[in-house]
């Protein structure tokens, strides 16, 4: 019985790893292509940002949310004619069994889709895929993610691409109406 449980756990762990690998592979595929821009932010940086002093209670909630983020990766390409092909390629590699679609936005010429992955009842990864007529962005944020604080994190981190996280807040507002 113990062997069976262990076996099931190992299969599940391998399946989860394979799904993470799918996104990692996409990053790896283009990381040496100089026509792409990329940013990797370590969990250490987020934990340092969370150590900032603030007396405002709302900032404390933000810092707590930031401290739980383990990393951020952004891959982008601008002035490109194949943005839609990249978008299709990225969408095809997102493991739909594991990721749930959070939101879809069409804004003028831009298509944007957000996906979340849950683990133990908490969001452990947020993926954003965006394509315009001449630009493409893939972003993945991982750790323990508090969606309520996402828009603030987007502003606090001040990194191109994260401003799109504001849209999550807008979505929440629309839901309440």
């Amino acid at each position: 019985m113990k062997k069976l449980v262990l076996g099931v756990m190992m299969v599940m762990a391998m399946a989860a790893q394979a799904q993470n690998d799918a996104i990692a592979k996409f990053f790896s595929k283009y990381q040496n292509d100089e026509s792409f821009s990329q940013v990797n932010v370590s969990g250490k940086m987020f934990s340092m940002m969370a150590n900032l002093d603030s007396e405002k209670p709302e900032d404390k909630a933000l810092f707590t949310a930031i401290s739980k983020i383990k990393g951020l990766k952004i891959l982008s390409k601008t002035e490109t004619r194949n943005s839609r092909d990249l978008y299709k390629e990225a969408m095809a590699m997102i493991p739909t069994n594991d990721f749930e679609e959070l939101m879809t936005i069409r804004d003028k010429d831009k298509d944007m889709r957000f996906f979340t992955k849950e683990s133990g009842g908490k969001i452990s990864e947020l993926v954003m895929v965006m394509a315009g007529n001449e630009e493409f962005v893939l972003m993945t944020l991982f750790g323990e993610i508090d969606l309520k604080e996402m828009s603030k994190i987007g502003r606090a981190v001040n990194i191109d691409g994260l401003n799109n996280l504001e849209k999550i807040k807008d979505k929440d507002k629309n839901k309440k109406k």
Partner: protein
């Protein structure tokens, strides 16, 4: 412009290297090395940008080193080797990436939970740049500081003067001011 230039020269007079890696890099390539103090950084903020002042408030001093890759044979592995050397000086990687063809790296050294030093490395086909900061900056704004230094008209002009200016003039100016800021002979 002149006022900023004089301040930069005076500031550099008493400045010291922040890390051995940066010092060794400068010696190895005899590149351009500039020192900034909080006051001189404030002088760059001609438009009184409050965000910029906030960004530099915890910087004690900063060294800017630029190696012209067109003039020096910089090996391909130099960037990776620099990162390794900074890590050996207890610096940890905070952010890495490549934007518009320029690779960059932000590393931080902590002591007792406080940031003591920050390194911003940048490399593209034409130059290798190091910002060696004693103290801390808001990391999420590190790229803004880099851009300000990189794009500041005053600093750019100064760099241009240093790089393309007459060496004798520089030598004379250095002697007159008794300063440490210098662009060494590339030949």
């Amino acid at each position: 412009m002149t006022r900023i230039f004089i301040f930069l020269l005076l500031a550099s007079f008493v400045a010291e290297a922040q890390t051995k890696t940066t010092e060794n890099l400068d010696k190895k390539y005899e590149g351009m090395s500039l020192f900034f103090y909080k006051n001189t950084l404030r002088m760059l903020n001609q438009q009184d940008n409050k965000e910029f002042d906030e960004m530099i408030k915890d910087i004690e001093k900063m060294r800017f080193v630029m190696i012209d890759k067109k003039k020096h044979a910089v090996p391909q592995g130099e960037y990776a080797s620099l990162k390794k050397s900074y890590r050996a000086e207890q610096y940890e990687e905070m952010m890495t990436g490549r934007i518009d063809g320029r690779n960059f790296e932000i590393l931080v050294r902590e002591q007792s939970g406080r940031v003591k030093g920050t390194i911003i490395l940048a490399s593209d086909s034409s130059s290798l740049i190091v910002l060696d900061i004693l103290g801390r900056i808001a990391l999420e704004k590190a790229s803004s500081l880099f851009n300000t230094i990189d794009q500041s008209t005053d600093v750019s002009k100064m760099i241009k003067n240093f790089v393309s200016g007459d060496k004798e003039k520089k030598k004379k100016r250095k002697e007159e001011d008794g300063v440490k800021v210098e662009v060494k002979d590339d030949n």
